[in-house]
């Protein structure tokens, strides 16, 4: 009985995703239209399709990371950026921009995307080092906060010294889906498959954690190693997404909450649905961002915050009424 519902919900989410990607090829800088003058048609499929797929994949990576963060730290306010990955990525981008004038070939290869990715990984690594490994959730979270603050201060100093770079960095900060290309899509697709597979395999450890850390250990689970693997996946998924689309706000935080009612408690299902939900959220936001005032674009992070926030508000009101009755 439960299995049927699961398949039904899964196919529902997948169909919705496909519909959105299709819409993505329809909507663009002149509103909704597939009619393009002449040979531009292929060009637009070179632009709109990778952009739509890319937005979906980035959202999926962020949703996955958010689901992991919330389950691992057992905190409904956790998001993929809390272990210093956001500030690290920002600093990475700033560094590449700052030293671009050196014309070093390494910098060309790494590029802004690579800089963001490496920065995110370094941020999480710093948090882990500061906490001395994953000894306790609280300790790791606090280290993450400390690293975020320190790197954030470094960023502020940065923009103070080079205010001309501020605007470029700001567009990264607000999230940017406008320049997604097929190569970015390929990278994210590979990352998503790897991260999702590994997470789905080891997700029962997250279920076991609901009984408490000690009990989970007595069930024979290599808790410390598994948690480190999950942190690694968190960093990898966040880094990949952020490298392609910048720091899109709220997707990682909202996606797990949006699908919680659907998932029925098991972490394997919850994380899979968070992943799909994140993709749906970010792609929908991208569609709105580019269509509402075409050809002017709203920063996609603004739309995700509004969409996700409104939906969460509706959810909250419904549950509070439920509790009263």
């Amino acid at each position: 009985m439960q299995k049927n519902y699961f398949l039904g919900k899964l196919s529902g989410l997948l169909i919705l995703s496909a519909v959105l990607v299709l819409l993505g090829t329809l909507l663009g800088s002149i509103g909704a239209s597939w009619n393009m003058p002449g040979s531009d048609q292929t060009v637009l499929f070179d632009i709109r399709l990778p952009r739509s797929l890319g937005a979906y994949l980035a959202g999926a990576l962020l949703g996955l990371a958010g689901g992991i963060a919330q389950s691992l730290f057992r905190n409904p306010l956790a998001d993929p950026y809390l272990l210093g990955s956001a500030s690290g990525a920002l600093l990475g981008v700033g560094s590449i921009l700052c030293f671009a004038y050196l014309g070093n070939s390494w910098l060309d290869i790494i590029g802004l995307n690579g800089g963001a990715f490496l920065g995110a990984l370094i941020g999480v690594l710093a948090s882990l080092l500061l906490a001395g490994g994953y000894r306790s959730s609280l300790r790791l979270l606090l280290s993450g906060v400390v690293i975020s603050v320190i790197l954030g201060a470094a960023n502020s100093l940065f923009t103070f010294i080079r205010p001309d770079l501020f605007q470029s960095i700001q567009s990264f900060m607000l999230g940017n889906t406008t320049l997604l290309s097929w190569s970015g899509v390929a990278v994210m697709a590979i990352a998503l498959v790897i991260c999702l597979l590994i997470t789905l395999i080891i997700s029962p450890v997250l279920d076991a954690l609901s009984l408490g850390e000690n009990t989970a250990r007595t069930l024979g689970l290599p808790l410390d190693q598994l948690r480190l693997v999950l942190i690694g996946i968190l960093a990898l998924a966040t880094g990949c997404a952020v490298a392609q689309t910048g720091l899109v706000a709220f997707v990682g935080l909202a996606a797990p909450h949006l699908v919680r009612k659907l998932s029925g408690g098991r972490q394997r299902v919850q994380i899979l649905f968070s992943c799909l939900g994140g993709g749906i959220l970010l792609l929908s936001s991208d569609l709105i961002a580019r269509t509402l005032f075409a050809p002017i674009e709203i920063p996609v992070g603004v739309v995700t915050a509004v969409l996700g926030g409104l939906y969460l508000l509706a959810l909250l009101r419904r549950t509070s009424f439920g509790a009263h009755s």
């Binding site: 029962p204 609901s210 009984l211 069930l219 024979g220 408690g265």
Partner: protein, 253 residues
């Protein structure tokens, strides 16, 4: 289960030192002692959660030689009255919660097999929780939750069960149920070790271990008058034991 010169550490401190215990197989052993005596730590050490030195053996095999999974299959541990279910909206169903007990038996993909489902059903039936199986665990009352957690413990199908204050948050009817289920487990050939601070329950066990200040005060059969004397001495004579029917009650002196 035997322990020799067991010293249990919590961080750098030795909570228990130099314990030599002989826990009888297929019997119910209760562990009592004043607060801070180290009762919970003893169980945690046996379950592999705390660092210890010395030896702990089951059927003459030292616990350190067990692989992690085998240890989990041999010894199951029930946490003290869990208030750790915070607001995190975890809606895991009762059935799935009990299924967690089967983790030590599952392959690396952790997909439930037919024997797993059978065990879970048996465990839920044994604790009269089968009718609750679809309900979200967090929506249950304290007594119901304890029942489910016991079912989880049973589902592990281990030879040795360690329970830390299992009756603490239950009212008398539920306590009676619990003791009944414990009895069933004993008839199935399990070995039970429970930490209790209710003396009248502790004296219902087959064997009593008394800890004081991190050291063994006394161990012996519960019906033995020497055990009763040791018990009074354990609390510095501030309690006296009265027989009521088949039970011994401890009353303040």
């Amino acid at each position: 289960m035997k322990t020799r010169q067991l010293t249990v550490y919590r961080g750098p401190c030795a909570i228990l030192s130099d314990l030599n215990l002989d826990i009888p197989q297929n019997k119910w052993t209760s562990v009592i002692g004043p607060n801070g005596a180290g009762k919970s730590s003893l169980l945690q050490a046996m379950a592999g959660l705390l660092k210890w030195s010395g030896s702990i053996t089951v059927d003459e095999i030292n616990l350190t030689s067990f692989a992690r999974k085998d240890l989990a299959k041999k010894i199951a541990w029930l946490d003290q009255g869990s208030s750790n279910q915070e607001e995190f909206d975890d809606s895991l169903s009762v059935y799935d919660t009990v299924m967690l007990g089967r983790i030590p038996h599952q392959g690396w993909l952790h997909l439930p097999s037919k024997p797993d489902h059978i065990m879970v059903e048996q465990a839920l039936q044994q604790t009269d929780a089968w009718h609750l199986r679809q309900r979200p665990f967090l929506q249950l009352s304290g007594g119901e939750r304890q029942r489910v957690l016991l079912a989880r413990l049973i589902a592990v199908d281990s030879e040795i069960l360690l329970l830390d204050e299992p009756l603490a948050n239950l009212d008398p009817p539920h306590q009676a149920d619990f003791l009944k289920w414990q009895g069933n487990l004993l008839t199935q050939g399990k070995t039970l070790v429970t930490v209790l601070h209710e003396i009248h329950f502790a004296l219902r066990a087959d064997f009593v271990v008394m800890l004081k200040d991190g050291k063994l005060h006394f161990q012996g059969p519960s019906q033995d008058p020497r055990t009763h004397q040791a018990l009074v001495a354990l609390f510095d004579g501030r309690v006296r034991l009265e027989k009521l029917g088949n039970d011994w009650i401890a009353l303040p002196n």
